[in-house]
Structures are given as structure tokens and as C-alpha cells.
């Protein structure tokens, strides 16, 4: 079925079609229409799930973890400050190996108050042990939500589906909505296997672990994050097999012969496609590399895409004060593995903070600056800052 959906509605469809069993809900702009759509779906009998209205995001994630420990598929959605409030619970969810799926609509952190797009919220959860999947368009949002459950449940690690505020959350696009039965075929009912609250076989959860078992359990999370790279690739292929749409952790566009590669994530990648095409029309050898997964960080694929290239321009809609743009920082660390001859020079740009636009013009400017300068002026270069 084809329907015109906003990014937020696409998330709700993804969760509903995945046969989610428990949804916890607390409103926050710009996420709210996700949980509202789910409330309507439940009231209309479209989805057979329990809908828990909680008193804060902290409670929302706590309720999801509890439900997940009970052996059911669980989901919640949040944004910005809501995600920050969940932070303590995010660590707990991965430590407890609960495959909760969360949709985060990227929103800039306060103060001052701002509700627009900025990836600092989700990227600053990088040490929480969550798989992080970024989306470029609404079809990808719907498909990624469905895939996120499969990835999370295979690994027993929680997964976050991430979409840009307003550029996706409140923008409508025609979307192919998969058939519920077909989704069930791709993603069967959740089987918690050995870890769940089974009255016939009582377990204890979250008991104290002394240093040795604790370190072992942490190592297992890291081991499974490494395994996640191949699990995500398999799930992408499996999804393509079922639905005919293929996704990649790292995707090149006109990248093969490119002289300067622009590296983008989220909606900036779709603007970059247009910018790169426009640059090609001007006779430039511009290319794009889009990164979809942030955790686990797809180092090998990135090396595969960038090895031997001369220059890459990373566009970060986020930053780590006192350090750099977060994607650039991660990218630089994986490129260290390459020899000096094979390693491209990394130009880090910060753009689009707090919802400022990253337009085709911005990306073209970034391309030419990278092309024409011998070296980056600075470790991170800010584009479009107003100075009054």
C-alpha cells in the first residue's frame, strides 16, 4: 500500500507493523505525533499493544525495560531533552540486554530552548551501548524501524532509530507501507529465549556483579557490538530480499572517481545527493558517502570507501565542545589505521546547528573550500555562524 506519511507517522507504522506489544509514551516536541499516532492506532484496533502513559521519559524507558524483561517487544519515542532524561536508563537497557527499540527525533539541547534539528542528543548517548541507526528519508525511517527490532532482538541489545526534527518528523512523503503479514514473515514474534521473567523458571535481574563477572558482562556487550556489524548487514540483505529495498551501513554515491568526498548523515545526505549532482554538472569530481550506522561504528566499510582518496569533507550537525564534530572525530580515529599514502585528509565542518539549514549552496561551498585549500584551516570549521 502506498500512502503519504510524515516521518513520525512512518515510525508509528513501523512499530505497529512490527507487532510491538508494549509502547510507553510521554509527549515532547517534535516526537509527540509518533506516540499520538500509536494511540490512535490502538484505539482503532490497528495495533494490538498495551499503551502505557507515563509521567516522564525516565519512566518511559524504565517501563520499556520492565516490559522487555517480561519477554515482549517494546517501543518508545523521544527527542532531545527527553533522551537526556533517559540517559541513566539507556545504560541500564543495554546492560540488562533488553532489546528495546526507541525512535529519537533529533532535537537541539537546551539552554537556550530550541526544538529544531541537531544530532547532539543522540550522538551524546554513544557510550550507552545502544545501536544507532540514522535515516535519510521517510521510507528509510519506516523500514529502519522494522529492521531495528530484528537487529536488536538478534543481539539482545537496544536499538535507536534516528530521524531529523521537522525535515523528516513533520514532512510528508509518499511511502510504501509493507503488508503486515509480510512483516511478520520477516520479523516473527519476539522470542526472548532464555532471558525473561518466567514464573516457572524464576531468574533475578540486575543483581550486583563483583568486578570479574562485571567485566566479563561488559566485554560481552563489546563482543556483540562487533558481531552487530555483520548482523546489521545480514538484516539489510534479508530486508531487501523480502521488500526489495536495500540499505547499507556506508553508502557511496558518485564516489568511485571523486576527488573530494562529502560525508553526510541523516537528511543532509539527501541534500548532498543534489549538491553532488549539481557539482558534477559543473564538471567537478564530487562524491558523497552516507553513513547510516553510528553504533557500532562501521570502520571497515568506511576504510573501504575512503582508502586512497585525497580529501573528505565531513559535515557534522552536532559538536562536542572542546573537541570536534562527532562524526569527524570517529572517522579520524578509524582512518588512523591507514598509511600516510592511503589516508585522506579530513576536513571537519560544523553546520546546521539548532536547525540552521544545510542547503545545496552550503554543501557546494564546503566542497569548493575543501578542493581549493591545501590543508584544513582548523580541526573544525563552522559554516554559517551568525556573528552580531
Amino acid at each position: 500500500m502506498r500512502k503519504v506519511l510524515t516521518g513520525n507517522q512512518a515510525v508509528a507504522y513501523g512499530a505497529m507493523l512490527s507487532g510491538v506489544e508494549v509502547v510507553a509514551a510521554y509527549p515532547i516536541t517534535p516526537q509527540t505525533t509518533i506516540i499520538e499516532t500509536l494511540a490512535d492506532m490502538q484505539a482503532e484496533g490497528l495495533g494490538d499493544f498495551d499503551y502505557i502513559r507515563v509521567e516522564s521519559e525516565h519512566s518511559a524507558m524504565a517501563a520499556c525495560i520492565g516490559a522487555s524483561m517480561g519477554g515482549v517487544r517494546t517501543f518508545t519515542a523521544t527527542s532531545g531533552q527527553g533522551l537526556f532524561l533517559m540517559h541513566e536508563m539507556l545504560h541500564y537497557a543495554s546492560g540488562a540486554r533488553t532489546p528495546v527499540v526507541l525512535a529519537n527525533v533529533n532535537r537541539a539541547p537546551a539552554a537556550p530552548w530550541n526544538i529544531w534539528s541537531d544530532q547532539t542528543d543522540s550522538l551524546s548517548q554513544r557510550e550507552t551501548g545502544w545501536i544507532q541507526l540514522y535515516c535519510e528519508g521517510n521510507q528509510e525511517v519506516l523500514d529502519t524501524t522494522i529492521m531495528a527490532f530484528k537487529i536488536a532482538e538478534k543481539l539482545k541489545l537496544p536499538a535507536m532509530v534516528i530521524l531529523d526534527a521537522f525535515f523528516l518528523s513533520h514532512t510528508s512523503e509518499p511511502i510504501e507501507i509493507p503488508d503486515k503479514e509480510a512483516v511478520k514473515d520477516f520479523l516473527p514474534t519476539y522470542d526472548p529465549k532464555d532471558i525473561w521473567l518466567d514464573p516457572d523458571n524464576p531468574h533475578t535481574f540486575g543483581a550486583i556483579a563483583m568486578s570479574d563477572p562485571y567485566m566479563e558482562l561488559r566485554w560481552q556487550i563489546q563482543r556483540d557490538m562487533e558481531i552487530a556489524k555483520s548482523v546489521i548487514a545480514e538484516v539489510h540483505e534479508d530486508f531487501a530480499h523480502h521488500f526489495g529495498r536495500m540499505y547499507h551501513q556506508v553508502e557511496g554515491y558518485l564516489a568511485e572517481d571523486a576527488e573530494v568526498l562529502v560525508i553526510c548523515t541523516g537528511t543532509a545526505a539527501s541534500t548532498a545527493r543534489v549538491a553532488v549532482e549539481a557539482l558534477r554538472a559543473e564538471g567537478e569530481r564530487a562524491g558523497l558517502v552516507k553513513i547510516k550506522t553510528f553504533r557500532p561504528f562501521p570502520g571497515e566499510e568506511i576504510i573501504g570507501a575512503l582508502k586512497g582518496k585525497k580529501k573528505v569533507a565531513v559535515i557534522d550537525r552536532n559538536f562536542s565542545p572542546g573537541a570536534q564534530g562527532i562524526w569527524a572525530q570517529e572517522l579520524r580515529s578509524v582512518l588512523c589505521e591507514l598509511s600516510d599514502q592511503e589516508r585522506p585528509m579530513v576536513y571537519g565542518y560544523i553546520a546546521g546547528i539548532g536547525g540552521c539549514d544545510i542547503s545545496v549552496k552550503t554543501i557546494k561551498e564546503i566542497y569548493y573550500k575543501t578542493l581549493e585549500s591545501h590543508r584544513p584551516d582548523d580541526i573544525d570549521m563552522w559554516v554559517g555562524v551568525r556573528h552580531v
Binding site: A25, P27, T32, A43, R53, A110, A111
Partner: protein, 265 residues
């Protein structure tokens, strides 16, 4: 001084919908402050998040627009750091009773000299009409399309039980009463909680078919009565208005200063 002299007109037009009750509360809070003769620089207004919480932007006092649910925690910091200031905390029902519920009961328990004005419109307005912990049982919100099965807080009883030393309720219809109650609450030394029933015609009203803003205000006129009135005895379903509790009890920042003085000999 006329109320408009307390407004930061550069922040206008304000965001509240036509007919929203929150502007009435802002106007009356200003009138109460004016009647008490407080200087602008003696007053701090602290808010969290929600339609109600936009108020500090519009009023020309010291103002802090803080995190969702955390206004009272920030305000407590202000009061402890500068006990000579008058600290007023306008909050919505979602902000005060849901995500910030813990701060509310603990501020009340400590009896710290803050004035919490809970602008109760029974809904999360800013995010588009989700039901809150003060939405009456069975009423609708976007997260309760078939009506909520949650029971609502009676915030007056909650504040009393938690230890507030001044507890009152009024509505946006009863403007004169509201000014008097807010002035008394500000003057009171200790934690004051004033619930003001405030209409949200845009979401709560529309979702629950309550008519226009005027209809909603008329329902405050008809649906409430003074504490202990004859009418209440005849119609027990009426909601009571007025001051429920006003007691002198040791105030937290004063007790703290006294303790510091004592321990320093």
C-alpha cells in the same frame, strides 16, 4: 503601575491561543505583585516547560525558563542562594504533577518560601493535547482517544499532605479572588501552592467538547463554590475555591540561616 509596565513588550506577540486562560493568570500575578509594592528587581519568576512556562519571557522580573518539571528545583537553588528575593514559580499541571511531581512534594515538605502557581488546564497544551495527571478520569486527550483510565490528582490535597503551609484554589473566572489569593500566597512565609483552573479551549476544550473559552469560564463559575459554602452542602459535586490552609511553620531557608549562625557560634 499599570500591568503593561511589567511586560517585556519586545517578546510580544505572545504565543498563547485566543481565549487561553494563561494570560489572565499572568495579568493577575502582576497585579498581585504590584499591590504588594515589590520592586521588579526583588522578584524572580522561574518556570519549566509548557504553555504556562512561557510566562517568564513576558514579565519584566528576573526570569528563568528552565527544564521540564525542574522549575521548583531551580527555584530552590535561587531561594537558598538569595533568600531575600521573592521567588514565584508558574507551572502547568503536566510540568508540576507529572515529570516534576517529585520536586513538588519535596519543596512542599521542606516548606521553603516559594510560591507555586499551578495553572491547571488538565492537559499538555504545548505538545498538542495529551492527557496529564490532572485530567479528570474518563476525559479525552490525544494519548487517550477513548478517555483516560488514570485517576487525577487533587493537587490541593496533594500539597496539603506533602507539607505545604499555604494551599489555595481559584479559577480564571474569579479574577478579583485570584489577585487576592496570589498576593496572600506571595506574602506567606513558607511553601505556597495556588491551583488556578485555567481554560485551554484549543486542546482540552475541543477534545472534550466543552465549547468556547467563554463556555469554559462559565463552567468555572457554575462548577465551583467558596470553601464550606451552603451551596457545597447542597451540591457536593461542586469544586471548592479559596484558601484551604494557611499556617505559620518554620521556613526552610530561614531555618538554614539560623543553623549556620548557630554552628558558627
Amino acid at each position: 503601575m499599570p500591568a503593561k509596565d511589567y511586560l517585556r513588550q519586545r517578546f510580544f506577540p505572545q504565543i498563547w491561543c485566543p481565549g487561553c486562560g494563561h494570560g489572565i493568570i499572568m495579568g493577575n500575578m502582576i497585579r498581585a505583585i504590584d499591590q504588594l509594592g515589590l520592586e521588579k528587581n526583588e522578584v524572580v519568576v522561574v518556570s519549566g516547560i509548557g504553555c504556562s512556562s512561557r510566562m517568564p519571557g513576558y514579565v519584566d522580573f528576573h526570569s528563568l525558563h528552565t527544564l521540564h518539571g525542574r522549575a521548583l528545583a531551580f527555584a530552590m537553588g535561587v531561594k537558598m542562594g538569595r533568600p531575600e528575593l521573592t521567588v514565584i514559580v508558574p507551572m502547568g499541571d503536566g510540568d508540576a504533577a507529572a515529570i516534576g511531581g517529585n520536586h513538588l512534594i519535596h519543596a512542599a515538605r521542606r516548606n521553603i518560601d516559594l510560591t507555586a502557581i499551578i495553572m491547571n488546564n488538565s492537559i499538555y497544551g504545548m505538545t498538542g493535547g495529551q492527557f496529564s495527571p490532572m485530567t479528570p478520569f474518563g476525559d479525552k486527550g490525544t494519548t487517550a482517544p477513548s478517555g483516560t483510565i488514570d485517576h487525577a490528582f487533587d493537587i490541593v490535597e496533594l500539597a496539603k499532605g506533602a507539607g505545604a503551609s499555604f494551599v489555595a484554589r481559584t479559577t480564571t473566572y474569579h479574577v478579583k479572588e485570584m489577585i487576592k489569593i496570589i498576593a496572600r500566597a506571595i506574602k506567606h512565609k513558607g511553601f505556597s501552592m495556588v491551583e488556578v483552573m485555567s481554560q485551554c479551549p484549543t486542546y482540552y476544550g475541543r477534545k472534550n467538547k466543552l465549547g468556547s473559552a467563554v463556555d469554559m469560564m462559565n463552567s468555572y463559575k457554575d462548577g465551583t463554590t467558596s470553601i464550606g459554602s451552603k451551596k457545597k452542602a447542597e451540591h457536593p459535586e461542586l469544586i471548592e475555591r479559596g484558601v484551604f490552609l494557611e499556617e505559620e511553620r518554620p521556613e526552610y531557608s530561614a531555618s538554614y540561616s539560623a543553623l549556620v549562625k548557630k554552628s558558627q557560634g
